[in-house]
Amino acid sequence: MQILRSVFFFYYNGLRNMTIFGRNLWKLVIFKVIFLVIIANFLFPNLLKENFNNDTDRANHVAENLLNPGK
């Protein structure tokens, strides 16, 4: 418990006493996290996971694409 407490206060105090430099870095990191969450959810769907329920259907879909190259 003491270790957990130490770890918590290590980060808590460290983040509270951040310099301008540290704050700017965190702004960048937060911007990036928001950016990643947006693109992951809205711009980049995992097509095979979203459009098919099981691996058999996914395999059949890929087979349709790969084994009919002239189509």
């Binding site: 430099f21 960048l28 990036k32 950016f35 790969l66």
Partner: protein, 567 residues
């Protein structure tokens, strides 16, 4: 609106943009962490505050780089799922595991201990802090191991077997994947070039201080140490580059032929330092308009024998039974049989016709080695040849600069040792100017590896054009431009934060330099009377340092000046 490029071109452009942006930050992170850990090791053993400040300063520059670079690689994984779904499925078992390990290593190992490096001064023991610095250094390389294993597999697939029922490659030997010779060479090359790049950047910034007449002791000590890193990195680079060339000759002969602009191979193959090419013709070749050639040198570089045979592009496309090379048109025909046989197998299995399915499967296995060639047209062999002029010049830029900076590091080390760098302003200026050039070289090195593999996404197994998803080219193009804007903004923000930090400088007072620290320990009376904090010499630093202090940090307790001590 975006029809001037096809879906595959936009998908590749988007991937290249993301990977290229990610790659700006990766090598510096990989390289500088070893430099920082070494600086902290000096601090640990000497107890010198000077080396502590050095470590703290470069840790901040590293932190900026890390904050912008980390996680941009994840976008590549999103792109796999959306734009490259056939590829994701086809290689999933091989590619997925190393990427997950890489992701976990990068996030949990590096970020945890980077926090200790940044926040843990005087809060954790010196020993633990030092251990954290080394863990971050090795953690970075550890995560690179996995991404390069995945990439090495794309260059030279090993340790896998293709399952015709699921259409997936399945790992049969983790050791086969991990011990892939191409992956190991790539890892060695990536780390050596990262150390070289980081050394150039650190020396460039230190040169700027000397040009400005600031932080002299800091700059001299940094250059003295980091030039040694640069020398080691450059030597490793030359060895790794040589090994990579030999790997290419063995596993990717078309890439070697393209990089060397070698259309007609043979024994005593020539190395051409300079060459200019005409437009590509229907058969996939180009005219070499002008070149300087050194006979036998390429054979020697690749096989250690000036008389060794090196196949050219024409040899690889056409029949050469004496060398065991099957013509590209024949492989294309074989590939088409393999694809058709596999299609029939799936069809027969679906209908429960096991006997015919088995025959179709046997037929597929007979031609399976040429499966990927079945996606090409034997009347358009140019598709099988990568972009020769780009690869030729990109490779020469990278290697030329690599050799050049291998000479630059000993010069910087020598001048730093003699403490005459300030008198050599052109050398300092050159050290500063070198920074963007080394980044271009790093990007081109990556481009040579990836564009040289084209038209394959998995070398001679799956072509890039078969790997894409049936998405909308306009959507992919719009996301490309969106990413371009956001990446540019992120880069500018990171550049400005780093630049501000560089302007503030390491804030090392003259009395904290190693020489003066020793004096202080010996006899206080010998301390020079005119001790001034260098940090307050220039207006820019004064403003920036003041700003930092007022908002965040408590000012350090003011020590009595020597003058007062004398009084």
């Amino acid at each position: 609106m975006f029809e001037f490029l096809s879906l595959i071109d936009w998908s590749r452009a988007q991937f290249a943009l993301t990977a290229g942006f990610h790659w700006i930050f990766v090598p510096f992170t990989l390289g500088i962490t070893y430099i920082i850990a070494t600086m902290e090791t000096v601090y640990f053993f000497t107890g010198s505050e000077f080396w502590k400040k050095l470590t703290q300063f470069w840790t901040k520059i590293f932190a900026v780089n890390f904050a912008v670079g980390v996680a941009t690689g994840i976008i590549l994984e999103f792109e796999f799922g959306t734009n490259w779904s056939n590829y994701s499925w086809f290689v999933g078992d091989i590619f997925g595991a190393p990427l997950v390990i890489e992701w976990l290593a990068a996030f949990f190992l590096e970020t945890t201990f980077l926090a200790v490096m940044l926040l843990g001064w005087d809060k954790v023991s010196k020993r633990f802090h030092l251990a954290s610095a080394w863990i971050v250094a090795f953690g970075g390389s550890f995560s690179a191991v996995w991404i390069l294993i995945a990439n090495g597999w794309m260059q030279h697939p090993t340790g896998m077997v293709f399952n015709p029922d699921t259409l997936r490659n399945e790992m049969i030997s983790i050791w086969g994947v991990v011990s892939n010779p191409v992956a190991l060479t790539k890892l060695f090359h990536a780390i050596s070039s990262a150390i070289t790049l980081a050394s150039v950047v650190v020396i460039g910034i230190s040169s700027w201080y000397l040009l400005k007449g600031r932080e002299k002791e800091f700059a001299y000590k940094t250059i003295g140490l980091v030039a040694i890193f640069g020398i080691i990195g450059s030597i490793m680079n030359i060895i790794a580059g040589d090994l990579a060339g030999k790997d290419m000759a063995k596993y990717q002969p078309m890439k070697v032929a393209a990089v060397e602009g070698l259309y007609d191979g043979g024994e005593y193959a020539s190395f051409a330092p300079f060459a200019f090419f005409g437009a590509q013709k229907a058969d996939g070749t180009r005219d070499v308009l002008w070149s300087i050639e050194m006979p036998g040198v390429l054979s020697w570089l690749l096989f250690g024998d000036t008389s060794a045979y090196v196949p050219g592009i024409r040899d690889l496309l056409q029949w050469d039974p004496a060398r065991g090379i099957v013509s590209a048109p024949e492989r294309i025909r074989n590939g088409k049989i393999a694809i058709e046989s596999l299609r029939q197998y799936k069809e027969f299995m679906k209908n429960g016709n096991v006997k015919d399915a088995q025959n179709a499967l046997n037929n597929y296995k007979k031609y399976a080695a040429d499966f990927g060639y079945g996606y090409f047209d034997e009347n358009n062999l140019g598709e099988l040849v990568p972009n020769v002029p780009f690869l030729f010049w990109a490779f020469r830029y990278m290697v030329g600069l690599g050799f050049f900076i291998a000479l630059f590091f000993p010069l910087m080390w020598w001048l730093a040792r003699k403490r005459t760098l300030e008198k050599c302003r052109p050398v300092l200026l050159f050290g500063l100017i070198l920074i963007p050039f080394v980044y271009i070289s790093s990007e081109l090195g990556w481009a040579v590896a990836e564009m040289g593999r084209q038209p394959w996404i998995v070398y001679e197994v799956l072509p890039t054009k078969a790997a894409i998803s049936a998405t909308n080219a306009t959507t992919v193009a719009l996301i490309f431009f969106g990413f371009f804007i956001i990446f540019t903004l992120l880069f500018i923000a990171a550049f400005r934060i780093a630049l501000n930090q560089i302007k503030v400088g390491p804030q090392i007072a003259e009395k904290e330099t190693p020489e003066n620290e020793d004096d202080e320990n010996d006899t206080p009376a010998e301390v020079p009377a005119a001790k001034k904090v260098i940090a307050r010499k220039t207006p820019v630093r004064k403003q920036a340092a003041k700003k930092e202090e007022t908002v965040t940090e408590k000012p350090a307790p003011r020590k009595r000046t020597p003058k007062k001590q004398a009084e």
